[in-house]
Symmetry: C2
Subunit: 340 residues, 2 copies
């Protein structure tokens, strides 16, 4: 009998999650039925959206129930197969969540070819975060040649793709990140045109200097004080794909004053801004094949760069996840659950 | 020699404008040059956007300078003409501002045919406010058959057109207005499907009752506390054309807390909302002819209704304007400057 070690939601966090909000369990898996496969998790993706799933506030997806396995995308190996389409040893993209093993009937699995790219890229540059950047820019941001695109959390998996795709489309990319090391990475390895450290005391002034022609597209990943610095720089008819608000995910209710809404709505009106929230699933069915083709070509041509922040062992997931919400990771956060 | 009585901006208001922010002057007009016409103002349109022009805050249009005539659309009669295209007695749509007479070289004048519709309609249902409603709904709101469209200041010239056009497009129209008289007007004369009084203590609950299927399009005219009631009712993928924020036009700086921005941005994200500011001038060149054709047909067919709130004499303009910012008018506010 196969056992799965799994991390379940023990309690809904208030504000910052605590390791005690999670609990590790060991479950006995049933025997495989006909057309089932047994999947062994190799890599687990940790992403900010998971914070939303831990809460029961209304959101775009149902919350994880107390006692349920935490959700998440995984790269897995087919350990046993009773399904004709899948062979033992196949590497697949799956959504098994925070656990070492799972049984699947094949629904939603995507086979990965390790010769095209390292399988873990299916969790970022050739996966959800890459598609999030590509579809948000393509459908909402629509940067024109020479326009200025600004993105925060720019060394992260979505932000790094936003900046690189913006440049591949002929736009100017300005990245916001925390600390000199991440800023240097944006300039030296990802090819951003400018990088601004949001921890600098004169952050707003530096952002303005980095955007002498204003901002045409602001890809909103973070919210919080970065938005206050971006707002006055937005050009007339600027587009703001709203993809994430990680600065607020640990908020415990209404913010204290002053009320920043009138300034934002006033700018929406006076500058004819477009703010558009989106979840990549909106575009997935119609556009994922186009994305995979274009992004795989870019990867093959060496035009996309990425960085993985890999932590070892499923048991390290809660601490790594909590740290990510505070910007402690550097690159796409991945838990290595088993050896490839 | 012709004299023009004119109301100029004496001082930039802080918060609510005061009658002393305006000053009346009498100016001698020069003799007509070749290709000039002398225009006598019949009607002056008073509109909320004028409050923005009184301030020097950055906005979508340049402010009125201290000592300059207040801007505004007018219906005028050609009193003298040295221009072949215009004859004495012609009635024209012009932009002469708050004054009794002006000289024009014909630029931007539109001839009005009193047989098609009363000339004052060129200041609302067949003019800027009508086009604002038509273009904001058509380009941003895009109501589908059976969707719910909500508009505030619904008895005003923009709101009343938003609701009527929404219904002509097959959508359900819910209007928000101040007081039972205005609400009855929405239902009985304009044909809205529901009307909600924003002065009611249980306004938010009543709005929810009036929108059992949520809100698909919220045409934002007002801002303020109405937005707080609308936000939780917005459906996934709802569209919010942001056309005006009259509740904030008299604000004196940042609002006091609590901070309402995180809730709005959170809803933009979780419900994939579109917020899009616009000024009708964006669409004017390309779409005004289509609007005039469609709206004139509707008027001829008796499908559009309107109400004018006419005050007598140019000297009444400042008080009427100040009252309008507080919702004291009922219908399109027009100053009758001279007899037709």
């Amino acid at each position: 009998m196969t056992q799965s070690t799994r991390i379940v939601l023990a309690r809904r966090p208030e504000g910052r999650p605590d390791p005690s909000d999670f609990r590790t369990e060991i479950a006995d898996l049933p025997a495989l039925k006909d057309r089932d496969v047994l999947l062994e998790t190799l890599y687990l993706s940790l992403d900010p959206y998971m914070r939303g799933r831990m809460s029961d506030a209304r959101s775009y997806a149902d919350p994880v129930q107390i006692g349920d396995v935490m959700v998440g995308a995984t790269v897995s190996r087919v350990a046993q197969s009773r399904h004709g389409a899948w062979a033992e040893g196949d590497i697949v993209l799956s959504g098994n969540g925070w656990q070492t093993h799972a049984i699947s009937d094949g629904t939603g699995l995507r086979k990965l070819d390790p010769k095209v790219a390292s399988p873990s890229t299916a969790l970022h540059v050739l996966g959800m975060t890459g598609f999030t950047a590509w579809s948000g820019l393509g459908n909402i941001g629509k940067p024109a040649q020479g326009e200025t695109v600004v993105v925060a959390a720019a060394s992260g998996p979505v932000g790094s793709m936003v900046g690189q795709i913006a440049r591949l489309r002929g736009a100017r990319a300005v990245g916001i990140a925390g600390g000199p090391e991440k800023c240097a990475y944006l300039l030296d390895e990802l090819g951003f045109d400018a990088a601004v450290d949001h921890r600098a005391a004169d952050f707003a002034e530096r952002l303005a200097e980095a955007c002498p022609d204003g901002i045409d597209v602001y890809f909103e990943n973070v919210g919080g004080s970065v938005w206050d610095a971006v707002l006055p720089l937005l050009n007339k008819f600027a587009r703001v794909p709203v993809c994430g608000l990680v600065a607020h995910y640990n908020d415990k209710g209404a913010g204290t004053g002053p009320d920043r809404l009138p300034a934002t709505m006033g700018a929406v009106l006076s500058k004819s801004l477009t703010l558009r929230g989106f979840i990549m699933s909106e575009f997935m069915e119609s556009q994922m094949p186009d994305f995979l083709k274009e992004a795989s070509d870019w990867v093959a041509q060496g035009k996309l760069h990425w960085r993985e922040d890999v932590v070892d062992g499923l048991e390290a997931a809660p601490e790594a996840f909590i740290g990510m919400l505070e910007g402690k990771n550097f690159g796409k956060l991945i838990v290595k659950v088993a050896e490839l």
